[in-house]
């Protein structure tokens, strides 16, 4: 197999994300990243106009959102600069999001490369299993860092595997666990590995853990491979150089900025998070929280396949039957989720922080799925039919979930949770935090009088402005700071913000919503209007 199939799947991913992004609202963080990207774009323009001034004033433009490195936001900025500011081809938000789709496509490409080491069918199944759930599909659309760092974690794994010679472009040459490839790998592979690690470092701090994982992987390899791997590890030193180059904030006073970055995440605030009827506000968090959440939000076939994949990898590890590549996948998957089982790491944000765990189990899960089809074909079922049955059984529930819930991805729950209403009864987080407001913007545009003041609740001012710039919200509608100050209120249902609804009733003198967005009966966004205003009940 050539790279044609992974490339085709990557292109398909990009097209699917591009085609389905219009209704995806802006999660709270995305609004901040839009603002940061705008600031960085101004810096790029200054760099082109007056390089010396740009180099001098990095702090002024890059201090915004100092807590995350610059690469992803720089790409959002460059995309906006080219496709919106210069060419005028794309609306603002789509231009910002374009690099995120590219990261999604890269993730597909690398997953297909990994899974292709098992079989061609696995190469197709692996990205399909990852993306075939509304939660993962939704996150693929956002100009945020979660899918980019997930993609780069997998990408670093692939680059490392290629650099030490355990993964070849042509998957027919799978390296047996204990043999050393006869030819030395070209240095450009090591260079690319170091560069990709730098990119990961320059996207999100999840990358801090990668060197430790790779070191342990190297040490667990057979002797010949171990030596080669240990010789490859120093290429990681390229990482800080890429980080420095991609984050101009570090160009002045780097120690302070690095310290601020580390300190921000070492002391990250804990947001309230609703979990089995309890508001989790701080440590200690339930140890199995991330696994339980995955089981509840993903479609049932994926839950079972990913669980089987994890169990199979662990079983083979315990029996020393893991190939170096599968050992790498296990290590990276473990490193992606274990920090969230420490009971002290902030856990808000659904599954987005450990997407790489899901991604790195996908090749093994795909292999198991393809293996089940292969066994059935040995029993007499035509192979194509067996693969079709496997694909339909594993993917149709997820496709249904996407068709049913998209673009409200933070609200999606799988069959084990009883879907969205079952999760509400179980006492699970309804959404996070405000992207679902897109469902009621058309109503507000249609009913609110000119200049109306609307309380948008968890929609931050950055996202509010982005909705107006995207043409999703009328430009004359004003941002109110609370119900007392508003004519309309669009309340996003959160357990921890329940006080806002009675507050609105008291301020507006009505308890009857004017409209709302209800997903399978569960309140997501409830709109109130002061009596007498257009649209009021």
């Amino acid at each position: 197999m050539t790279r044609r199939l992974p490339l085709a799947l990557a292109a398909l991913t990009f097209a699917a994300l591009f085609a389905t992004q219009s209704g995806v609202g802006f999660v709270r963080d995305e609004g901040y990243y839009f603002e940061a990207a705008r600031s960085y774009e101004q810096w790029v323009l200054l760099l082109l106009r007056a390089p010396a001034a740009a180099l001098r004033d990095t702090g002024r433009y890059w201090s915004l959102n100092f807590e995350h490195p610059g690469l992803a936001k720089l790409l959002f900025a460059l995309s906006h600069l080219v496709f919106t500011t210069w060419l005028g081809w794309l609306p603002d938000t789509l231009a910002f999001r374009l690099p995120a789709f590219a990261f999604g496509a890269l993730l597909t490409y690398w997953l297909a490369m990994l899974a292709a080491q098992r079989s061609r069918a696995a190469a197709v199944f692996a990205p399909a299993l990852f993306w075939g759930a509304e939660r993962t599909f939704f996150h693929g659309h956002l100009a945020c860092f979660d899918v980019p760092i997930c993609a780069l974690t997998v990408g670093v794994g692939v680059a490392w595997a290629r650099a030490i010679g355990i993964l070849e472009s042509s998957p027919s040459t799978v390296t047996p666990p204990s043999t050393l490839p006869s030819t030395p790998t070209p240095p450009r592979r090591s260079l690319f590995f170091g560069f990709l690690f730098g990119c990961a470092l320059a996207v999100k701090h999840n990358a801090w853990l990668l060197p430790a994982v790779l070191l342990v992987h190297a040490l667990l390899l057979p002797a010949g491979l171990r030596r080669r791997a240990l010789r490859t590890l120093p290429w990681l030193l390229l990482g800080p150089i890429v980080l420095f180059a991609a984050w101009p904030l570090l160009w002045h006073d780097p120690v302070r900025h690095l310290s601020d970055w580390v300190s921000f995440h070492a002391h990250h605030v804990h947001y309230a998070w609703y979990y089995f009827g309890r508001e989790l506000r701080g440590p200690p968090f339930p140890i199995f929280y991330p696994l339980a959440l995955l089981a509840l939000v993903l479609p049932l076939p994926q839950v079972i396949l990913f669980a089987a994949a994890g169990a199979k990898l662990l079983w083979d590890f315990a029996h020393r039957a893991l190939s170096p590549l599968r050992l790498l996948e296990l290590g990276l998957a473990g490193a992606a989720i274990l920090p969230f089982m420490l009971r002290t790491t902030p856990i808000f944000g659904g599954i987005k922080h450990w997407l790489a765990f899901v991604a790195l189990l996908a090749p093994e899960a795909a292999h198991l799925l393809a293996g089940a089809a292969g066994l059935a074909s040995q029993a007499g079922l035509p192979r194509a039919r067996a693969l079709g049955i496997a694909a339909a059984a594993a993917l149709l529930p997820g496709l249904w979930q996407i068709a049913h819930v998209h673009p409200y991805g933070t609200s999606a729950y799988g069959e084990l949770a009883g879907g969205v209403p079952g999760a509400a009864s179980l006492g699970m987080q309804r959404q996070y935090w405000s992207n679902n407001v897109t469902a009621v913007l058309p109503w507000l545009n249609a009913h609110a009088p000119r200049g109306a003041r609307v309380f948008f609740h968890e929609v931050n001012p950055e996202s509010y402005r982005a909705y107006q710039q995207a043409g999703m919200l009328r430009a004359d509608i004003q941002y109110a700071s609370g119900p007392w100050d508003a004519q309309y209120a669009a309340l996003q249902w959160h357990r921890e913000f329940r006080d806002r609804e009675p507050e609105t009733w008291n301020a507006f003198g009505t308890r009857t919503p004017a409209t709302g967005f209800y997903l399978d009966e569960t309140p997501q966004v409830v709109v109130y209007a002061r009596p007498g205003l257009p649209g009021a009940p």
Binding site: P301, A372, Q378, G418, E496, P537
Partner: protein, 272 residues
């Protein structure tokens, strides 16, 4: 030899299809659940019919309790009755409510309507005839609670405590020398006082407790202490105390060292 081994080989061959069959069964089960879920939930017409039934049958001392408590889309349809979303139906206060209409989605996943009914039974309520409107169930419950003599706080104002909207009035918390005060006149009997800190500040344990001193005709009658909420302890605190019969002036003096918190109080008297 070949003939004897053939059935075993066929069984072995068939067994190879089991993993795929298992995955297929899993997929079918998941899909059946997904596709049928909307059929188990009420539609607009069901809500409208239930609301119409309530308009016709409900009286002035009735209220609607939603079940599960998150099923608040019903608020868009029910405009003639107070709507309650209590989570603990056994302990919930329904002051002034003689008949409670339990409007439920019995086929919603994990709805556990039987638990709601059991809780109402445990408090002595008597069930009436259940009506069905598609995915909705409507059942009247005679609460058989004590008769309210006086509302000392306005039941129309609501605030959230323990994540449930409560009929209570916001009262300023004052420092101990200058407590916030709420005054009302009403008939004596059994005095019910409920109080709690509104919103997330209820859970900030470093802020200390709030003290509610209850006075009747200027004399101390009782004290209610509201500490920061530490689940599973409730944040909505309660006392019941006997008040002499006849009309009296009640005063509730609310104080704490940390006064920067929204605080809510409800009080009413019932016949002994």
């Amino acid at each position: 030899m070949e003939d004897a081994a053939a059935p075993a080989r066929r069984r072995s061959d068939r067994a190879r299809a089991v993993p795929l069959l298992a995955i297929a069964a899993l997929g079918v089960c998941a899909l059946v659940f997904d596709v049928t879920l909307p059929l188990r939930l009420p539609g607009d017409a069901d809500h409208a019919e239930a609301a119409a039934a309530l308009r016709v049958r409900a009286g002035p001392r009735d209220a609607v309790q939603l079940w599960p408590p998150w099923a608040e889309r019903a608020r868009m349809f029910i405009r003639t009755l107070p709507v309650r979303t209590e989570e603990d139906l056994r302990a919930a206060d329904y002051p002034g409510v003689e008949r409670l209409w339990l409007l439920a989605m019995p086929r919603a996943p994990f709805a556990r309507l039987s638990r709601a009914r059991a809780a109402l039974r445990e408090r002595g309520a008597i069930a009436g005839e259940e009506m069905r409107f598609g995915g909705l169930s409507l059942q009247p419950w005679d609460l058989r609670g004590p008769r309210v003599l006086s509302f000392l706080t306005d039941p129309r104002e609501e605030h959230e405590i323990d994540y449930v909207p409560r009929q209570c009035m916001q009262v300023r918390i004052g420092p101990p020398p200058d407590p916030g005060t709420l005054e009302a006149r009403g008939l004596g009997g059994v005095l019910h006082v409920r109080a709690g800190i509104v919103g997330e500040r209820a859970y900030q344990v470093a802020r200390g407790q709030v003290r509610v001193e209850v006075q009747i005709d200027g004399a101390p009658l009782a004290t209610l202490t509201v500490p920061p909420t530490v689940p599973p302890e409730p944040g909505w605190r309660r006392i019941e105390v006997a008040a002499p019969s006849g009309e009296h002036a009640f005063a509730f003096r609310v104080s704490a060292r940390d006064a920067d918190r929204p605080f809510c109080l409800a009080a009413w008297t019932t016949a002994p």
